[in-house]
Amino acid sequence: FMLTPGNPKWKQMNLTYRIIKYTTQLSKANVEDTIKEAFQVWSNVSPLTFTKISQGEADIKIAFVRGDHGDNSPFDGPNGILAHAFQPGQGIGGDVHFDAEETWTLTSSNYNLFLVAAHEFGHSLGLAHSTDPGALMYPNYAFQDPSTYNLPQDDINGIQTIYGPSNNPVQPTGPSTPTACDPRLTFDAIATLRGEILFFKDKYFWRRHPQLSIVELNFISLFWPSLPTGIQAAYEDVDKDLVFLFKGCRYWALRGYDVEQGYPRDISDYGFPSSVQAIDAAVYYRRKTYFFVNDQIWRYDNQRQSMEPGYPKSIASLFPGIESKVDAVFQQNHFFLFFSGQTYYKFDLSAHRVTRIDRSNRWLNC
């Protein structure tokens, strides 16, 4: 996190706010509820309180304005700059302006007012932008579901550096963004997608570009707002140009970056018995889909569309050298790349043996 240069802060903990100008795109009640929830993100983790007033001079004045609105920081129309805010202080200090020419929503459609407002209030309280891509104070917009929003630890650390800990007897904590080169890094699931490789972890995924071998971290919800976090298994069916994602006994299908209609569905579609309630990893190869569940493997015949007889078998019986639980797996050329904990095993499907063992995060250029 970063504090605004000069470390400006409010002297008083009990702040007032006033909504001076509303947007015509949402009802007044919706705007007021959303603004209140956005302030609660900060009052939940600090000694600060926020009270709405309707008359007089408030500490934090909020307005939806367009273009050049007299503060020497003109807005730029739809997209681009969404909003801005001023550091703590008198007059314009603490004030928040939203670009009235944006489409403001309460949903995953661009742009969700709650997330932008909570971010701007961070500036009103003295926070600058964070370089942590998972932090609320990261400069770029990234949708996350407001109903399950949990302020990241980076932002909690920032606001508590300025105003001290929350008065709650139990100090609130938040999620931390996984770091690619953390040697303890493990993956939830991995799948290829039209040449890219997607590495899933918690509410994030790294996207590795094939040629450039650049790896970028994104929220799952930025690309697929309807998907849950904590994806457990994933595979690409290259013949159908679909990627299947699994969590618990449900699964979704992606076509490129679109979620297919009619999902989620139940994994019993594949013929799993009800005793199988979740899948650890999955991979598709030559019209067969391999599912890894604990120390067992199931093989699904995509042509016959049924589980093959004689399964499940032990994983080691099909893939000698793969002895521990499989977290994730993907196929590249004639190799299966198995990931278990912080280690990956390169299994040669022709030689039928492991030909390389290395650290999992090598795939994130570490």
Partner: protein, 82 residues
């Protein structure tokens, strides 16, 4: 950055970069520095500062991933300085 009609892709990208760095990395607006200074050293340094902030390769050049980052919707508060 408002597109300039008839501008080449390179000119468009240069405008995106200039506009972004002026807004968020305190690049002095064109005309405040001699053309030579602006085009060679200050822009490269500011580009590297932006790439460092976003964890990109610090090439000092407006490469694809840098331009992609500059086009993402964001907050109007600068990433460095007041």
């Amino acid at each position: 950055a408002l597109p300039v009609p008839g501008a080449s892709p390179e000119e468009k990208n240069a405008r995106v970069v200039q506009d972004y760095l002026e807004k968020f990395y305190q690049l002095p607006p064109k005309g405040f520095l001699s053309e030579r200074q602006n085009s060679s050293s200050v822009i490269v340094e500011k580009l590297k500062e932006m790439q460092r902030f976003f964890g990109l390769n610090e090439t000092g050049k407006p490469d694809r991933e840098t331009l992609e980052m500059m086009r993402k919707p964001r907050c109007g508060v600068p990433d460095s300085g007041d």
